[in-house]
């Protein structure tokens, strides 16, 4: 529907909600969702703001293709200054919430201030109000969604909410919608909790409209769907095996971070892989995986829906977890599994369910457990401090630590800090495996060199979704490059970062890029949105968004020194696999990247670059 041209501004301090026209000049420069919401954010928020102060704002934003028949057109993003990182945060989620928000007639919601008491925002098309959430505070995400649907007497209402993690200040809390889709990284749920905002419930009945050229749009959307269907990855690979199929691939390549990045291959990788999820269990004769699942409008359907083994020690007396539910996806399976050496698929699924139920990021949580296990292994943390034995590989410890995090008791308070703050507290900051206080995802940059640069320069801290060079370096999409060399990676990372910025701003899923290029997205945007959306314009928009985010981070106090990797990845060579003997070449790639970006050696965009991008 292109833009609804309407934004909702919610002042939580004063309890007011008002409608404003969308700035259409900015829409032409920043498209929507990630780009456009970040533009609003950087114009309105002091980069030095404390992420948990009322002066920080939080924006929930759709893209122009959200809610349309474009494949995967159901995305929305949460933009704020991240609690975990102190950097610009943009966390993207699927499910059905984003499309419903669009159907209600809103491009985005800007939350500002802080409510004096817990509230939730109710949206029924133009009827918008803040409601008391005292009865929801202390409830899980799953309970909150159920209570709101019952009280609204509408099973179609879509809910995003924080769980107890967001309420209790866990620094990597998520905002979860549709039970198991999440705006997951950087602590956006922590910011939401700091504002005493428990949930947003939205029901939209306006449907899709305001497409510039409906016939051209439907033709473009259909053609792009055919590209996805005909592509072996998006048409067959992802729906059948999901993202989890990467577990064995990345392990075989020697790029699966294991035991807090001490190793690059995990001996039990297969036990926690997609292939294992398809196998019948000896205990009950059932496969872990029940079915695949799709978000709104998605024709890929990569999602995993699984049933945990009811006899597993983690759930044996907890029937509330026995039903089919979301997971495991690759990142969660890696972080909860290989990162801490746990090869128990059912334990990983249980920890994943807790992440979904109470809203915290499984990547940061798993990596924080890994760091705690290394501190335990080194004797820096003791059994008495943690409350239990926590050696690498202990499924019992993983399960107990997940429960401890939510109870907020004992060592759970330390886990809530994330690995950077926790390791610093115990005098070993170098053992936190991340960038800008955000933990790495599931690719070891000694075995996939380009990812080291992508992590180091990601505007939201270590992240695979800001520049997924794995596609090229491992999977050969769009072309195969050598994962073990640094040459050419500066250009590759920039290309992925800029293109991803456009996809994240359009309202579609980045997984379309396994089959689509900008040339597949461009006709859909051009037909849906006012103005001329050429390839050249889109390329410029992507680069503009990246530089805008960079400028915010620079003003927040980040420098070139923050575009770096932990010493382990620069000084401790990979022990096995094709990368054996290699460290990451970030110090070689970083200056090349700055040059390619048109930045000075300190990582500051030059006047010429800013002028060219209209910044």
């Amino acid at each position: 529907m292109g833009w609804t041209r309407k934004i909702l501004r919610v002042d939580l301090s004063n309890g007011t909600c008002k409608s404003e026209p969308l700035n259409m000049e900015w829409a032409q420069q920043y498209l929507g969702q990630r780009g456009l919401a970040t533009k609003y954010f950087v114009e309105e928020v002091d980069p030095k703001v404390d992420p948990l102060a009322p002066a920080n704002k939080m924006i929930m934003a759709t893209g122009p293709l959200t809610g349309t028949p474009a494949s995967t057109g159901g995305r929305y993003s949460v933009i704020t200054k991240g609690a975990l990182t102190g950097a610009i945060a943009c966390s993207n989620s699927g499910g059905y919430f984003g499309a419903e928000l669009k159907f209600a007639g809103w491009d985005m919601i800007i939350f500002e201030g802080k409510s004096a008491k817990p509230v939730y925002l109710s949206i029924e098309d133009d009827k918008v109000e803040l409601r008391d959430a005292a009865h929801l505070w202390g409830k899980t995400v799953w309970q909150t969604e159920e209570i709101i649907k019952k009280s609204h007497q509408d099973p179609q209402v879509r809910v995003c909410s924080i769980g107890r993690a967001g309420e209790n200040g866990v620094m990597y809390a998520c905002i979860v919608n549709d039970l198991h889709r999440a705006a997951g990284r950087s602590g956006v749920g922590t910011v939401m909790g700091s504002k005493n905002l428990k949930a947003v419930a939205v029901r939209g009945t306006k449907g899709a409209g305001a497409i510039k050229n409906p016939k051209a749009f439907m033709l473009a959307a259909a053609a792009a769907k055919k590209v996805l269907a005909d592509n072996a990855v998006t048409g067959q690979g992802l729906p059948t095996y999901g993202t989890q199929v990467l577990m064995n691939v990345i392990n075989e390549m020697g790029a699966l971070p294991t035991r807090n990045h001490r190793d690059v291959q995990f001996e039990d990788a297969r036990k926690i892989s997609a292939e294992a999820m398809h196998e019948k269990r000896p205990t009950d004769g059932k496969a872990h995986l029940v079915t695949n699942a799709a978000c709104f409008g998605c024709t890929i359907a990569c999602g995993r829906i699984s049933k945990i083994d009811e006899t597993h020690f983690s759930v044996v007396n907890k029937p509330q977890y026995w039903g089919a539910s979301g997971g495991l996806e690759y990142e969660a399976a890696w972080a909860l599994g290989a990162a801490n050496g746990v090869g128990d698929l059912e334990a990983l699924q249980y920890a994943n369910l807790i992440c979904n139920e109470d809203g915290f990021d499984p990547i940061t949580f798993g990596a924080t457990v890994a760091a705690a296990m290394e501190l335990y292994d080194l004797g820096i943390l003791t059994k008495e401090q943690i409350g239990l034995e926590a050696p690498f590989g202990s499924a019992q410890a993983l399960v107990a630590l997940a429960e401890m995090l939510i109870s907020g008791e004992g060592f759970g308070k330390d886990l809530a800090l994330g690995s950077a703050r926790m390791c610093a507290k115990y005098g070993r900051p170098e053992l936190s495996m991340g960038v800008k206080k955000q933990e790495f995802p599931a690719y070891d940059s000694r075995g996939i060199q380009g990812m080291g640069l992508a992590y180091a320069t990601s505007n939201r801290g270590a992240c695979h979704l800001r520049g997924y060079t794995v596609a090229s370096e491992v999977l050969g999409i769009p072309v195969k490059t050598d994962p073990l060399v640094t040459e050419g990676k500066a250009d590759l990372v920039k290309a992925f970062q800029d293109a991803t910025s456009v996809f994240d701003s359009a309202g579609v899923c980045v997984f379309t890029t396994f089959a689509w290029t900008l040339a597949d997205l461009q006709p859909q945007l051009d037909a849906a949105c006012d103005g001329d959306w050429t390839m050249e314009k889109l390329a410029l928009v992507g680069e503009r968004i990246w530089n805008m985010e960079r400028l915010f981070n620079n003003a927040a106090g980040f420098t070139a020194k923050d575009d770096d990797l932990p010493p382990r990845l620069k000084t401790e060579p990979a022990k096995t696999g094709p990368a054996k003997g290699l460290v990451n070449g970030i110090d070689k790639m970083r200056p090349e990247y700055y040059k390619v970006r048109g930045w000075n050696p300190e990582g500051v965009p030059s006047k010429e670059t800013l002028s060219r991008l209209g910044l």
């Binding site: 072996a232 067959q236 059948t240 989890q244 997924y468 491992v474 980045v510």
Partner: protein, 86 residues
């Protein structure tokens, strides 16, 4: 001369492994030391369109090299259909 190698097939390709090998996705083979990657792909009747990611000891073997690349004692050949994740 015969030599021992490990042959791994993943995702939908695992159906081309002997039943007992599916639990590990791997089978040990004794093959002639002149055996190439392409010959093993043919021996297991793998559909060409499903042979996408080919790794020997984790290192990528480009399509153009598969006909000539011979396996060596102790190497592991692993193959996937087109897959992705994130």
């Amino acid at each position: 001369m015969l030599m021992k190698i490990t042959f791994k097939l993943f995702a939908t390709l695992q159906d081309y492994l002997p039943a007992e090998a599916k639990k590990t996705n791997a089978v040990g083979l004794e093959v002639a030391d002149t055996t190439t990657v392409a010959q093993l792909i043919e021996r297991f009747s793998l559909p060409q369109k499903l042979v996408h990611l080919v790794l020997i000891d984790g290192a990528f073997v480009p399509p153009a090299e598969r006909a000539a690349r011979t396996l060596r004692e102790g190497e592991t050949l692993a193959i996937w259909p087109p897959v992705a994740g994130g």
